[in-house]
Symmetry: C2
Subunit: 131 residues, 2 copies
DNA sequence: GGTTGACCTTCCCGTAACAGGAACCTTTAT
DNA sequence: ATAAAGGTTCCTGTTACGGGAAGGTCAACC
């Protein structure tokens, strides 16, 4: 399978697939003409990575997950630990964003939003008030 | 005020302050020895940017906000619109993260997390199932 | 056989917002 | 004189690719 077909199958852009080869994540064979040749197994790995990425895992985490996936003697505890850490990071991000949203939302609501210059948003940024 | 003092006052790292000069966001005078010399007004701008950044605005948004702040004839509507767009982006990110969290959370809960290899998390990534 | 057009290759730059560190200068204190 | 604590510029690295140039390959069509 050429890279285009692999891209179609996995839903990943060809650029991304080449990048994954660059960093040694999924390394295909080469045909005699130099084209990358993806096996079903390669595609499977690419799709695996694509789904892990969709769950927010970093590419390096994906490398670990892929290694665990291929290691028949893995302990599910190792996978769970990684996923749990990732969940914690997600929670932290959500919390940060919610905090930002709450504060900014209040500011936006208090802003008239008309053609006058008075603006509580700018005032807050200027003075650091917390109202 | 040298950059160190400005950094202490604004809570921004010196590296960040130099970067803001590089991109023309806050440009200080120079002393005869070549050192950057920050006025109170410069510090005020830096602090303004720091707070806007803390609310999640991009540096380019900060540039716009700073320009609006300095424009006495601004319309608060322009500020409000920008903030509202930013709020919408924040909401989208929160939503994405919550989606990830929900899915991954379910997977983590269904994983035994012991020394056996069976792992619903890996199975999901391998097969794309949605349980 | 020639020529399109779609596909592939490598390589290099750009992204956002800085952090780290090297090599070097200035100021202040001892 | 020297050492410490500041400052300066400049270059590299970060994350995960996207865009695009310059050129090779392949299948089809006239």
């Amino acid at each position: 399978m050429n890279i285009g077909a692999a891209a179609t199958r996995t839903g990943l852009p060809a650029k991304t697939i080449r990048y994954y080869e660059d960093i040694g994540l999924v390394t295909p064979e080469r045909a005699s003409n130099g084209y990358r040749s993806y096996s079903d197994s390669d595609c499977h790995k690419l799709a695996f990575v694509g789904r892990a990425r969709a769950h927010g895992f970093s590419v390096e985490d994906c490398r670990t997950l892929l290694a665990l996936y291929e290691d028949q003697s893995r302990a599910s505890a190792d996978v769970k630990r990684l996923a749990q850490q990732h969940l914690t990071e997600i929670e932290a991000k959500i919390s940060d964003l919610q905090q930002m949203h709450a504060t900014l939302s209040r500011l936006v609501q208090s802003c008239a939003g008309d053609d006058r210059p008075d603006c509580p948003i700018l005032s807050d940024f200027a003075k650091g008030g917390r109202g």
